[in-house]
């Protein structure tokens, strides 16, 4: 089917002048060209697309990178001992990074991995992304497959002690960054990946995570400070038998953020949790969490827990889906998305969906939107706690359910502090 003229024009305009990264092994070139072809056929997201009904993709489509003020570096995970990997303006920064070595882990730059004729990444690059185009189009993810030059490639072969911390930095007001991370967690291995920092004026990150049987992958991400950023992120995960995937994102500020997480439970008894908390202040704040969980094995559990706190005209979006394939009996799927609107100006738009083809399943979803509990507020104030402090306590309480999804207590505490700091600064 031919694309609508406006859509194909917009796609042409955005892609003109962009070229697929040179070099690379034959398989990488092939994956990139295939992506470009798919992208041209599909077209970039367009305002009328159903999947972009609540979020205007225009900011991702301008040919020129929007200017964005460089914010202070967010202190990321300072209390935690990590293997730090820094990307500045979307390029690996060897000076600022630790040596890429760690027990139980193979770690290298994406840009190097794709030059090797023989590499495990060959079997994964674009594979989960392509499979993730089920039911809906995710052209910005294809864009990432086609154009990403740098990123990290991680293969956990054992229980990796220190988390890998990817820190994004910026030195340029119009830096555009397209980064691709590839992760493979082998049988019985465990890996924690942290992400933080201001990234780019316009950031597109893609991640494919393949978790073998009994593997565990934990992902904790902080998006903060750089209010003027536009970010489109995709995490694609495939889970083997009895494996675990847990991802949490704390998002503070951000003019335009779209975080998509696409999970497929492929092996029996696997567990996938994806959660997030977003705080937005101001009419120019827009945060979108879009999640798609496919149950394709027996006795798997999935949870989606998202909380948003919005004020002064900020907008929050949640699109969450649980798809249960015919053979996925004994599925336990849970999805909750809630927003706390601190004034009447804030907007919350939610589209929770279930699509179920198996009969022995337990799935629930709920979405609520509410104001601060005045009775609780009065109770706190009657004990001498000033209004704004009382409100902060209730905000922290509201997001607590999402933060509780983070298994590591130390990391959870770091995020709680970030949140409290944000509340105190009010941006």
């Amino acid at each position: 089917m031919a694309l609508a003229q406006a859509k194909s024009d917009a796609t042409e305009a955005r892609l003109s002048g962009l070229t697929i990264p040179e070099g690379g092994a034959a398989w990488a070139r092939e994956a990139r060209h295939d992506a470009l072809n798919r992208l041209q056929g599909m077209g970039l997201p367009y305002r009328r697309d159903e999947y972009w009904r609540f979020t205007n993709p225009a900011e991702f489509l301008t040919q020129e990178t929007p200017r964005a003020e460089i914010a202070l570096d967010a202190p990321g995970f300072e209390g935690t001992e990590v293997l730090r990997v820094v990307f500045t303006d979307g390029v690996f920064d060897a000076e600022a990074s630790d040596a890429l070595e760690q027990d139980g882990l193979e770690i290298e730059r994406f840009s190097e991995a794709v030059t090797k004729d023989i590499h495990w990444v060959k079997g994964l690059l674009g594979v989960l992304e392509t499979a993730g185009q089920n039911r809906v189009d995710r052209p910005l993810a294809i864009f990432n497959t086609a154009f990403a030059e740098d990123g990290l490639v991680l293969r956990a072969t054992g229980k990796v002690g220190k988390p890998v911390h990817v820190e994004y930095r910026r030195s340029n007001e119009t830096a555009e960054a397209v980064l691709r991370h590839m992760v493979r967690v082998e049988d019985g291995a465990e890996l924690t990946l942290l992400e933080s920092g201001v990234g780019a004026s316009r950031l597109n990150t893609g991640m494919e995570v393949d978790i073998a049987d009994n593997g565990a992958f934990h992902h904790v991400r902080m998006q903060g400070r750089d209010h003027e950023r536009r970010a489109a992120t995709h995490v694609f995960a495939r889970l083997g038998q009895e494996s675990t995937f847990k991802s949490f994102t704390l998002s503070l500020n951000g003019m335009m953020t779209r975080n998509e997480v696409i999970i497929t439970l492929k092996g029996d008894d696997a567990v996938a949790h994806v959660a997030g908390a977003a705080l937005g202040d101001g009419r120019d704040f827009h945060h979108d969490d879009t999640v798609f969980v496919t149950h394709d094995a027996v006795n798997c559990e999935s949870r989606q827990v998202f909380k948003k706190v919005l004020r002064n005209g900020a907008t929050g979006v949640f699109q969450g889906k649980i798809l249960v394939e015919p053979d996925a009996q004994k599925t336990d799927g849970y999805q909750i998305s809630q927003s706390l609107l601190l004034d009447e100006d804030a907007n919350f738009l939610a589209k929770p969906e279930l699509e179920i083809y198996a009969d022995d399943v337990q799935c629930s979803h709920g979405s609520t939107s509410g104001a601060i509990d005045e009775t609780a507020l009065f109770y706190l104030k009657s004990r001498g706690i000033p209004e704004d402090k009382a409100q902060d306590l209730l905000v922290l309480a509201f997001v607590a359910e999402a933060l509780a999804e983070i298994e590591d207590e130390e990391l959870a505490e770091t995020l709680r502090e970030q949140l409290a700091g944000w509340l105190e600064r009010r941006r």
Binding site: Y379, L380, K381, S382, G384, A390, L394, A397
Partner: protein
């Protein structure tokens, strides 16, 4: 200490007069009790004194040690030393009891220009008072009032009072829902706090509480007014005969 004169209060949202001219004076160090039929306005009086939204004072005044209460925000009244033990303590999921208490304690100290207590110092203060009220450490870690039994909630109110050391304490039916032993604990808690500089206004339906906490004055509130005041024997009379005789007498 507490001075209320001709206080008239209506609901903000509707044209409903609830307090129709309340006069009450509680002297320093005194304990006053208020009894009265359901719906007579006892809780409303306590809410209006502590600054809850939704009520409009149409006439009258209320002051604490000469400071006008009605113009202040609830948190300012608290810092001035006013405390209300709620008839229905509020559950606040996600806010730890200990965090709540410490935030309140330090906020009040800050408002009064006093030094804030460190986490360790504060823990010591709370532990001691909690022990007296038989509130175990586990309960302090839980979110405020969440999953507490009715009696535990009431004891938690008294713990807050003991920690915050207000000078004017209003207890709204703190005795209801308490078993005999808990009633004793709570009363002991209150009695321990009695001092020359601290006053109590105890709202209750039962004379039993007043056996433990002996009031200086007992008031009967009916239909938005204090219709009769007397000594402790007034409570005994209510217990025996209900309000019907009293009401006849007033009419």
């Amino acid at each position: 200490m507490l001075n209320i004169k001709g206080l008239k209060v209506k609901l903000e949202e509707e044209d409903k007069q609830i307090l129709k001219g309340v006069d009450l004076e509680v002297g320093a160090g005194q304990v006053h009790a208020i009894m009265g039929p359901n719906g007579s306005g006892k809780s409303t009086l306590s809410y209006v004194l502590s600054g809850r939204d939704g009520y409009e004072v149409t006439e009258g005044e209320a002051s604490l040690d000469g400071v006008d209460l009605l113009d202040m925000d609830p948190e300012e009244r608290a810092a001035e030393g006013l405390f209300l033990a709620f008839q229905y303590p509020v559950e606040i999921p996600g806010v730890g009891n200990m965090t709540f208490l410490r935030t309140a304690y330090n906020a009040q100290r800050k408002a009064r220009g006093e030094e804030e207590a460190s986490a360790a110092e504060f823990l010591k203060i709370v532990r001691e008072k909690a022990k007296d009220l038989k509130i175990d450490a586990e309960m302090l870690k839980r979110p405020v009032n969440v999953g507490f039994s009715g009696g535990e909630k009431k004891r938690n109110e008294i713990l807050q009072m003991a920690v915050l050391e207000p000078k004017m304490c209003i207890l709204d039916e703190t005795d209801s829902g308490l078993d005999v032993d808990a009633m004793k604990l709570v009363s002991d808690g209150v009695n321990a706090l009695r001092s020359e500089g601290r006053s109590f206004l105890v709202i209750t339906h039962y004379q039993r509480l007043l056996d433990h906490i002996t009031p200086d004055v007992v008031h009967i509130m009916a239909n938005g007014r204090i219709v009769k005041s007397g000594g402790p024997e007034l409570a005994l009379e209510v217990e025996k005969n209900g309000y019907a005789d009293l009401m006849d007498e007033v009419q």
